[in-house]
Each structure stands twice: as C-alpha cells, then as structure tokens.
Amino acid sequence: MRLLPAWLRASPRLWSGVALLGLVPLITRDAYVLQVLSLAMIWAIFASSWNLAVGYAGLKTFGHQAFFGIGAYVSALSAMHGGLSPWVTMWFGAVAAAVVGALVCLPLLRIRSLPHLAIVTLAFAEIVRILCSNLVDLTRGELGLAGIPPFTPLSVPGLGLVSFGPADRASTFVLIWSCLAASLAFLGWLVRSRTGLIIQAIRDSQVAAESLGVSLTRYKLFTLTISAFLAGAVGAVYAHFVLVLTPTSALGIALMVQMTAITLVGGIGTLQGPLIGSLVLTVSAEGLRMAGDHRMLAFGVLIVLVVLFAPRGLARLDLLFGRPSQAAGAAR
C-alpha cells in the first residue's frame, strides 16, 4: 500500500468502484447499458467539476452549465469548421471555458451574499445560452448543431485501430471511463495538495483563511478556472459522444438542476459523491421508465428519501460506503 500515492490510498472504495466500472464492457456489450453508463460518467465528471468549486472551495455558483456548453460548442465547431481532430479541439473547448471562468470569477469575488451569487451566476449562464440560440448562423440555434464528428480512431498497440463512432459503444465507454478515472485522479490529488487544503479552509471560513495569509482572490480564481476547464473538457467529450448539440441540452438550466441533484444525493464535498450520485440517479431514472407516467413522481420520491435519510449524501452513509476520510492529514 505504501507504494501507492496518498490520494489513491485515501479512497480505496472509490478506486475499486472505478476499476469495477471499467470492467463493464467485459461483462456486457449491450449498447443501451453502455450508452446509459457512458452518459452517467459524463455527468459524474461534470458534477465533480462543480463539486470542486462548491463542495471544496465553497464557491457557490449555479452557472456551470455555461462552461459545459462552451466546451461542447467550441470543440464541436472548431472540429467541424477547422477540420481538426476532436482530440485537439476538446482542449480548445476546455481552455475557452477556463478563460470565461476566470473572467466571470472576477466580479463574483466581490459578491458575498448567496442569493445574489446564485442569481448572478445563473443569469450569466442564461446569457450564454440565449447568445448561443441566437447565433443561428453559427450554432443553428435550437434546430441543433448536427454533423459533429466523433473522436477520430486511435491506433492502440495490440488492438490496432480503435474507432469511437456511434456504433462503437464499448470503445467509447472505455474512452469516457478513462476521462472519468483521469479526472477523479486529478481531483483526488488536488484536494489533498497544499492548494486543496487551502481552498477547503476558505470554504470553512474566509475571514480566518485571510487572517492566515491566504489570498482569497488568488485561490478562488484558481479554483474556478480549473473547475471551468474540467467542465469545458467534459462538455467537449459530450459533444463528440452525442454528436448533436442544442442550447437547451448543452447549456440549459436543466443541466444545472441535474448536476446539483447528483452532487447532493451523492455527497457534496466528497470525491466519490458525484460518481455515486450520478450512477444512482441515472440508473434509477432508467429503471423507473417502466413506471411510465409516474416516473418523474417516483424519481422525486427517491430524491426526497435520500435527502431525508442521507442529508449529507450517500457517500457519507457509513454502512454503504464507509466514512470518507475527512482528515487528509491523518491519512497522510
């Protein structure tokens, strides 16, 4: 165990869960199952990016869907019009989202009241969505941006050329799973780093953190930029996965609501929370399809139950997943 880095040792259950998830294509090639789980992993990454800002740094923003959508559209458009590979353009999407994230962060730093912050960030995301629907020449608005190329085939040693088209559900699943594992590994390392500890201090008391020499501006700016970068990157992955974008699907408030539910159900401020929440909610939403018209009702009841019995999220339920080690220092 000593050979493993601290972030890996600290959450053995999370990493075993992620590893198990990666084995799914060996068990089933069912396109529907792989499709649903792929989407769940995308939402898990997206929710994790939001969780970094809200759960770890206490930056209460409700406009993260803008970063997701910016990443998606920038990558899709530059792949379509620039003729570049999505492997390259996804980083354009991520950088574009990070730049926008840094720019919106500056005015946000001055707002201390939560309701104001919520409205301002939500309004920002709505402006991006409306802009996107009105730039019909570029984005085709609500008609939808179709013809987005999938990730171009990769030559993998031993496997030959692996493609990621709509028919290649298993390879696409593995691609998205790799993104999930990489994102969680990065976040796991980050939250246990010097910066990670400092942003958690800011979350718990800005005044005290400042009194210890922490520059709030610097760390908040850093966190929101990283968070927006991750949201933009996964937005780009989403674009080259679903291959069609509309402002509502990639930038709508529904995305934010979904991501908030995922994070809260799973456990805000924990590494595994967004993944648990996403799997539980996505799978149960699919399972509830048989409930027909009563599906949304049943789904609502499920969320209420979780909030009642696990108010701090499923990840913090001792019996199911073990208590997440709060004490980074103790684990070190």
Partner: protein, 249 residues
C-alpha cells in the same frame, strides 16, 4: 511624531485610527504604540471598540481615518492576508475554526501558506498543537471542539504563520476556570520568544499577569494608558469598568 522607520520603529503603531459604523464611533482617533517584544493589554467595557480596533489593525476592516504602521511601514491600505504574510497575526474573539478540517489541518494551513514544505509544515503544526495543549484532539474536526479547545486552536493557528506581532482577542473568554492558568502560561511563553503581543482581556488578573502596559478604552477612545498596576488602580477606570464588572459578577 518623527517618522521613525526601519530597525528603530515600533513593532506596531496606530495613529488617529477611527471607524464609524453608521453614526457610531466604534473606534475614535486611537493612538497606540507597541514596542518590539512588548506585551500591551487592552481593557474596556463591552462595546468599547476593542475588537473593532483589532479588525482595523489586522486589516479585516478598512478604517474611516488614521494609519496603521508595521515596523514603521504604512500598511493602512494592505489587505488582511498581506498583513499576515508580513508578520501580523490575530485570533478571533468569536472563534472561527475550519469546521471540516481536523485540528492538525487547521494549523497546517497557516504554515503551508507561508510556503513551508509539507514536512516542515507538519512538524511545525505538531509542535504548535502540543504547545497549546491540543495534542489529544489533533485528529478531531474543528466543529467538534469545546470553547476552550477552540481558543487554543485560534492560538496555534495564529502562531503557525510565525508572527512578529500577535493580536489576542479574549483568549480566556468563555473558557472554564481550570484552563485559564494553562492558557496564561501558553501566552507568556509566546511573549518570551520575542513576539510582540496586544492582548484584549476582560479578566483583570489575567491581564495583569501578561501585560506590562495597559490601555483602557471606552466608547472608542483611549481613556487611560500606563503601567498595568497604575491603570488598574485609577479611579475613572474602576468606575467605568471594574465597578461595572464587580456589579455584574
């Protein structure tokens, strides 16, 4: 007052420092000089403006008027974090632990911000936690501490920034009587390391043990200043403060 600077300048100085909240003069043209290695006590009734004075010195609040000087340098326009990085630390009367971090991590933050390596920061944190007598609670979350433990954590955390000037806001306030002598001892030992101290304290026994000089505040103003015994013995001070306290006790 001649502009003294550099090596000879006092550790901390306030000149005509004022803060008005609405119509209330919380701090009114305060002058304060803290010599290097000196321990100055600040006393005064509730609402006298003591905490507000600290907020102005530490940069948590911007003054309405006046100046703050740290070793002769005008730091009035500096942010709180910059002041801390320049050696000015403070504790909070209403304690502000990082609730979801352990005591150990709480103290680690200050050392890490200064750019210490992990190993050095951990060593310092362990040492400071022991120094304030919190070793047994090191792995406990900030939200799980008693009042006395929270006050001790405030001390350790402030010390983790390696301050040259430390502002202590009622370190013994709300602490059980049995813990008070231990806390006095901790503060005295901090003073012995050469850190200049400014101590707000309601407990007259405590303040006379710790401070050599006392400043008495009332309604934002400095009413009296001088050697601890002298100020404590003054009639106007007793009437305004001690009398009130005796009555309350």
């Amino acid at each position: 007052m001649a502009a003294n600077s550099g090596e000879d300048a006092p550790a901390l100085e306030a000149r005509g420092l004022s803060k008005v909240f609405g119509g209330v003069h919380a701090v009114d043209a305060m002058d304060l000089t803290v010599g290097r290695g000196e321990a100055v006590g600040i006393i005064g009734p509730n609402g006298a403006g003591k905490t507000t004075l600290f907020n102005l010195l530490a940069g948590s609040l911007q003054p309405t008027g006046g100046q703050v000087l740290l070793r002769g340098a005008d730091i009035t326009s500096w942010s709180a974090d910059r002041r801390c990085r320049s050696g000015l630390a403070r504790t909070f009367q209403v304690t502000l632990p990082f609730d979801d971090l352990t005591v150990f991590e709480n103290v680690l933050v200050g050392a890490l911000v200064r750019g210490e390596t992990w190993a050095a920061a951990e060593r310092l944190a362990i040492e400071l936690i022991e120094h304030v007598g919190l070793s047994h609670a090191a792995a406990r979350a900030g939200s799980q501490l008693s009042t006395g433990q929270r006050k001790r954590l405030e001390l350790a955390r402030a010390l983790s920034t390696s301050p040259s000037v430390l502002l202590l806001d009622e370190v013994t306030g709300g602490v059980d009587q049995a813990s008070v002598p231990g806390l006095i001892d901790v503060v005295r030992r901090i003073g012995q390391t050469g850190v200049s101290l400014v101590i707000i304290e309601h407990n007259m026994t405590v303040i006379q043990e710790l401070a050599t000089r006392l400043v008495f505040m009332h309604q934002g103003r400095k009413i009296a200043e001088g050697p601890a015994g002298e100020v404590a013995a003054r009639r106007d001070v007793r009437a305004l403060y001690l009398g009130e306290h005796d009555a309350a006790a």
